[in-house]
Amino acid sequence: MSEPEILQGRKPDAWHLKPPFDFRILVLCALAVCCLGYSAQRLDLGRLFSDVGAFFMASAGLKESSSIGEGISGLSGGMFPPVFDERTPVEYVDDLEARLARPFAHLETTATDQTSLDPGTLEIVTRQIETQVLVEPLGYLFLVLLKMLETVEIAIWATLFAVVASLPLSVLCARNYAPHLAIYAAARTFVSFLRSVPELISALFLVLAFGFGAIPGIVALALHSIGFLAKFFAEDIESADVRPQEAIAVTGAGPLAVLRLAVLPQVLPSFTALTLYILDRNVRMATVIGLVGAGGIGQELKGRFDMFQYDRVATLLLVIFLTVLLLDFLAARIRRVLL
């Protein structure tokens, strides 16, 4: 009788069962803790804890002041209240008639005191100057929402292009479906490269190539998203249950049929989740790459920040936050319908 059969025949009380995890994992964890400790030292993470601690002590009244607290109060003073209206002196408005016709728009006369030196008497006089301003109560909010819409459009187009390109690319990146090992290696390398270039950097270059506006933003986001989606789509394809795939393959059908009928139904929920995640991420990243001139709300944000108009920055941040919240809600609904 051969060795394995003898092993198989051992009494149950002598059976050796595989442990759920072995000591190598523990060693790895210990090693990881050591590395983290070293890294914390290098990055001066101690300061993080002391600063945050000081902030909480100051908030509780145990300490006079803290550096974080000062920074925050300085900013929040400038950011509150957020600005929603647009006030333009009438002399700067070209199309006064048209803009007055919009809802809520009206003219206001404001009197401002102007102090100046009277050249005749050499005395300081204060005069009241009346200026007419066009007030559009929601004018700025409207502008911000338009910019936000542009940003969302950029994100949607980028995501769409990325999905269309990633679907075939992910098949080449999946070891079990790549037609050849060389193609697999090339596709993987290409995808890693796309993922390794940050959107902000590629947007900088693409703005040079395409000029300011939405197009460089779309291309930059799409390239990075392809790098992400193709990789994760491919991993889903590789880890899909083989049994349905075998069942289609034994009918003599080719890999396309197997992919469509056995793999796609399995990975579709995961693909959807990944795509929705990338859409969400693209909306947020689209605001960031606007900073370098690739269109959307980011361009506005950078301008206002540089002009120290923190109350407008507050409006912008509020709109971005609400948009992300709304998209999250929509994504959850889409997921529920599709799965």
Binding site: M1, S2, P4, E5, I6, Q8, G9, R243, P244, Q245, E246, A247, I248, A249, V250, T251, G252, A253, G254, P255, L256, A257, R260, L261, A262, P265, Q266, L268, P269
Partner: protein, 292 residues
């Protein structure tokens, strides 16, 4: 990228005219349905799952593979379908040798019922059945799962034959019971009108009545278009009732090959004597325990 160089036949033709063989190597008049010659397979370092198994199926008949759990039934069927690479041996299906090059072409003559069904969970029962006829589907049709009318009709017929209602046919596979899933797997294997049907425990999850019904259905397929069936079972009584021929496997070796009448109670008992208790003493035959 559908494998094989066949252009003309569409799935329709395959379904409606089962007698015109579309493969490039037609069965020669004396061509045998299945030839297995010295099949051996060992997984890792353990005992072999298949040990020099040789047999052939010469004419349309229902051949039952009988053996206890772990005796190599699934492995044998999977090697014939080209899903498990052989260590040694040669397989010929309907006159064509099974090689990596001929695999896709030979598989068109096969239908297979998998022990674990292999259904796509998110497709409906009907979509799963029609997926068995996707071989010659052009890719735009494939993309939208737009099967020709003939395929759709046949799928509905088959589902009705295995006891599905219209409502159940449109239910997602993951919402079906074990036995229902098994019957979907059987309908899918039959939709291509295979010359050789490999069925791995097709009635394992079914009650006795349904099991008999399914085996009768498979026999009817033999009669209707001259298919050969190789079907693994672990119920000796069902095997004796339905089989034209029984092949007994034990620990990967072919230990019996004959008609149901030739299968004596002792042989059957020996076939199912619990192999895992060998070391506890007692010979194979002395233990009359039957795993049913």
């Amino acid at each position: 990228m559908i494998a094989g160089a066949l252009k003309t036949p569409i799935a329709d033709a395959r379904i409606q005219a089962p007698d015109t063989h579309t493969g490039d190597t037609p069965i020669s008049p004396r061509g045998r349905l299945l030839v297995c010659d010295g099949l051996s397979k060992r997984f890792g370092a353990g005992t072999p799952a298949l040990d020099n198994v040789t047999f052939s199926i010469d004419r349309p008949q229902l051949t039952v593979l009988l053996g206890s759990s772990g005796s190599g039934k699934t492995t044998l069927l999977r090697t014939i379908a080209g899903l498990v690479p052989l260590d040694a041996g040669r397989i010929e299906i309907a006159g064509a040798e099974l090689t990596p090059a001929s695999l896709a072409r030979v598989r068109r003559r096969l239908g297979m019922v998998h022990q674990d069904f292999g259904l796509a969970d998110r497709l409906t029962a009907a979509q799963n059945v029609m997926a068995g006829a996707a071989v010659n589907l052009a890719w735009p049709r494939l993309l939208f799962q737009a099967y020709p009318r003939g395929v759709r009709l046949r799928a509905c017929e088959l589902l009705a034959e295995v006891g599905f209602t219209e409502n159940q046919a449109n239910r997602k596979a993951r919402e079906l019971s074990g036995g229902q899933r098994q019957r979907v797997g059987i309908a899918r294997a039959l939709i291509g009108r295979p010359q050789l049907l490999l069925a791995d425990e097709p009635v394992a999850n079914l009650d006795p009545q349904t099991a008999s019904g399914i085996l009768s259905l498979m026999r009817a397929a033999v009669a209707a278009h001259g298919a050969g069936i190789l079907c693994s079972l672990h119920q000796t009584d069902l095997a004796c009732q339905f089989a034209d021929r029984i092949i007994g496997l034990k620990a990967g070796r072919l230990v019996f090959d004959g008609s149901p009448a030739e299968l004596t109670a002792e042989t059957a008992a020996a076939l199912f004597a619990s192999a895992t208790r060998d070391s506890d003493g007692g010979s194979d035959v002395s233990e009359p325990r039957q795993e049913r």
